[in-house]
Assembly symmetry: D2
Homo-oligomer: 358 residues x 4
């Protein structure tokens, strides 16, 4: 398979702003069909490419276009249901996050993908962002040592109401936003997830979610996220067993704190750090991860190899999401204040959850 034939599902904002432009500039990828429940929106593809079939019927698209894979950006129920259909036909599947609503559904999707023997992928662009790869490279060097702790701060201002017909704003937020940072914690934590603790604070319609994870590697993760912030931003810090700390601010700037640092003219001296930033003309979809997520997915499709952000890779992340929701609902029910010794809701991770790091 040299050229990959792609069917697009859902030509909304996320597709038009990030996935479609990335697909259009990717070599040996052909968009051959577009499906959208709004046919007029599907027709917008003709602003970019002429010879593309459009439809508002997914089954029709599967029937008529000889697709290698579908790329979807829809609500989770569509991701879930249409993935099942596509996989049943042996079509590889890439969906925007989230792929579905909960762990049980995810397990169902994974089972179906195994039976169909197709490559699956979820749009976890943070994981594929260029500076995140730099961090992966750094944390794998002998000089950096072992990862001891990862601090993730994920600031958001929405959603402040349930999405996609759900009745829980918390679950909506976790699936729409925190899924990225939980996945990063899982990725950098490595090994098996051994402990999950969480706390949810509410103010009006806004949430603050604190999370602590422990891994079999000995690494720990603390994550602060929520919708109680003025705008979306993101930063993370990784502390190593060799007293190094690398931080990434806003997917732009990397700072490396290390015991011995300096310049050629100063020699090493205290309080010098290494700072990296992208060039002024950095462009395109590499830094934000949209290019990398699709490039690697198509590589996996071509090579029938595993993909870092497969449905399966998200199991521990969905475990965490389930735990947060469950702990929060138990706490909601409890007669608060009197037994607040359990500030953090904890749980032992179920024995079966394991995964390989990126």
């Amino acid at each position: 398979m040299n050229v990959i034939k792609v069917g697009i599902v859902g030509l909304g904002a996320q597709m038009q702003e990030n996935l479609l432009p990335t697909l259009l500039q990717m070599p040996d990828i052909r968009i051959v069909a577009v499906c959208d429940s709004d046919l007029a929106r599907a027709a917008q593809i003709h602003h970019f490419i002429s010879d593309v079939a459009i439809t508002d019927d997914f089954d029709d698209m599967l029937d008529t276009a000889a697709l290698d894979c579908v790329v979807m950006a829809c609500p989770p129920q569509a991701h879930r249901d249409l993935s099942l259909k596509a996989m049943a036909r042996g079509v590889h599947v890439f969906v925007e996050k989230p792929p579905c609503f909960n762990l049980v559904e995810l397990q169902h999707l994974i089972e179906a993908s195994r039976q169909a023997n197709v490559v699956t992928g979820v749009g976890m662009n943070f994981k594929f962002a260029k500076p995140m790869r730099q961090l992966r490279d750094i944390t794998r060097t002998e000089q950096f040592g072992k990862v001891v702790h990862i601090q993730l701060n994920h600031y958001a201002s929405k959603p402040t109401a349930p999405l996609w017909g759900l009745d829980s704003t918390l679950r909506s937020f976790l699936l729409a936003q925190a899924i990225h940072t939980i996945d990063l914690g899982v990725t950098f934590g490595g090994g098996k997830l051994q402990s999950i603790e969480s706390r949810v604070q509410r103010h009006d319609d806004s949430l603050l979610v604190s999370l602590e994870l422990e891994f079999s590697t000995g690494a720990t993760v603390s994550l602060l996220s929520g919708t109680l912030f003025p705008y979306f931003e993101f930063d993370m810090k990784i502390v190593s067993s060799k007293s190094m700390m690398v931080e990434l601010n806003n997917l732009w700037n990397i700072t490396m704190h290390e015991p011995e640092h300096g310049t050629s003219a100063t020699g090493t001296a205290k309080r010098w750090r290494g700072a990296w930033q992208p060039g002024p003309l950095d462009s395109g979809y590499e830094r934000s991860g949209y290019f990398g997520e699709l490039e690697r997915f198509f590589d996996a499709v071509r090579n029938r190899s595993s993909y870092d952000a497969s449905f399966e890779s998200l199991l521990p992340t969905f475990e965490v999401i389930e735990q947060i929701c469950q702990a929060d609902s138990q706490r909601e029910l409890a007669p608060a204040r009197t037994l607040r010794t359990d500030g953090f809701a904890k749980s032992k991770a179920p024995a079966g959850v394991s995964f390989n790091a990126l």
Copy 2:
């Protein structure tokens, strides 16, 4: 009492670098006696002031100099023992942190101070740092709303061995370093401390200490500290119920994220934030808090009023320190790995611990 007569105890590095220069430039303060177990070191005061009595005998100093108060920078056992002596004579006491080794000793000191009816103070300079006061002012405004969460990161590279004859590096670190940030958590958290959770990770001789606190105000604190870092630095973030987040980096720079921000020429627009930094010629001991801590202490001495960093004010901080040590020692004893459901050691705060915020 217009001019306050001060006896200095311990003319070591901390005294000479921070407290002494601050005292020398403070109006209406007279250093009238210096005590140091090393008399030659005590004599170094004569580089700065001529007419000062020196001694290596604290009792002698109390006997002969008509002191209003003593200012000490010694090991904790000296702070504890000499404070008791000074208070017994009705002399006000200001000691560098830590004032003593543990909660029981602190309670003893508090009891003694009540009986002696003297003003006590501990050198919690972070609390009095100028930008910290700006943060206090900000967080008290109606516009800021209620404090919801405080994230404190306190990076240190030492101690990596026990201090002061203690047998615990952990306790040494908590008393020497984390005491500041725990106290800040307590100060900004407000109300009563209701839940303490902690985790200690070790790598070689280095520590990583994670802490979660909950307060009766609803505010929560997360603190990451330890000695696994290349050098000392410090940053904090405070999230409010009105979707504002103010951050302080390294006691230098303040950034305010708020939903509506901009400039007179742009109007409010997304991703604008307010940034403050000190002027290039900012000098002296105000920013770092050494001036403020002493100025306020002497004000309290003059007015016989309460002092924000009295022995008593440190009760919840010492509670937290005891909890961290206790949880860590229990965990050390436990057959690890099998019951890691208790990643975080938690405890209900004892009913009696309350305090007023700064």
Copy 3:
């Protein structure tokens, strides 16, 4: 003309990295032919689009493809010669910078474009970068006042040898790099250019170029550029008559210094400034200006209106380039040191040079 038919000339690095991906994601633009002297390279277009004619003969492309315009990324001599051919056929022309080697050639191109009545454009992407537009908007507000001074710092590490068959590294640098910042100076300076002063310093193969411009608006520009830097970066500051200073660092971050600034919680106070930065997921070609430069060019083509970065718009910039080269060569000839009163080479701007700001 709804869909614009584009012929691409030169499928090298700049085209493939920036212009082509931008064109591919631009609505209602069709690439219908590709010309490259290396036919195999031209064929690379088929990785992205199937139905495109390729050729290594520009005349052939003009003859056979019914082009609305050509977009070129070639050496300047090709830009110059092929533009003349295209314009003679009434085809609109967009070329990467530089469009040609010198002022005389530029005047010739302008003359030809007037006769052909076509829209011309040069890839001055800095001018169209998103933060640069924010700066334009800011500097046009009444609140900002009049532009008094613009400081431009343009750091580069190359070229260190002549490009394109030229014999001057200085001219090569000015045409390849400084052209952007000189154009920005001209754009923000406004009005007529009234004085040009320059100084060139050399170290080994590297250059340092200092430039001072004065405009009829009263605004002045100082520009520091050259190849004596470790890597490419860029920053600028604009000072206004109302004591405001806005700075743009590296095309990423904007900082606004103004006499009255603060936050809703602090009120205005000294040393507060407004800071803006792009979101973590900022992607694509808008920020770096590649999208804007082409989007506006095609708008001009559609509306037969003038384009901000037309050949003509570059007249004052080429004036400045000529002056710098001329002053430098005169100085080289002069018996240096004895008459160094002329540190800066100055010249009165020729009377005829005027232009409208962006």
Copy 4:
């Protein structure tokens, strides 16, 4: 002379905020007398030290106190006149900047100091600021190479009216503010000053002063300063012959850009730079230079050695100030606009002006 006996003149804001606290914490310095035209203000010294004679008569102080030196913070006319008196008595003299109003007066002061054979000093604290010394150390290493260019930006908001009875706001600004940055240009430029060019722009009561200097070392300086800014800030960049650029922002942060930089975990890679910042508890008067300027002065007094910021050291700086004022007044007189080829007023530096760098 072990202990140096100091007479203070002028107990105003600058003395009380910066010089006095520095003197009080400096070893083996004794303040033995204080003179202020306002005797009540002189008496404020007794808040800090008891046994100090006060007077409102400078001659009286010289007569009665056996002074080694005087430290003054007064208007320039007092610096000038009282320095002459003190020097005539063989008393060493340290004055806040400026020491006098113009070059002729400075030459007179220098002549008097030579005849009296005393040490003279001016409070050029920027020159002695700790990060400035780091820069000096860096720029002197072989790795850094030769200084090629220094860019100085000195932002101020005042004075907007003449000071000290002068009739020129420009001269007032240069003497009160720009004196520091001109002196830094001279210090880092090295060698002999060979060319001075300047431009002054006015808006209402505010000034913008641009300056270009050339030195016999081949180094050049560009300085942007003025009162058209919202608040006082300062930054500088030094470019070297080895493609390194070190920048100092606001006397706080140092950034070193160099061709090869990275971290132990990354190896060298593009766009890494070294960044340095002071620790959170940096306190006192070292960073801002008040300690260094006095410490070095007293060292010179003790050793009868030369002092880096002597009256004589300021000769080239006053040359520059005279040139700026003269060029500006000529330009004011000229029928503007018609002959604006002379945007920058230039002058060959007078043959006799030479100096040794710091």
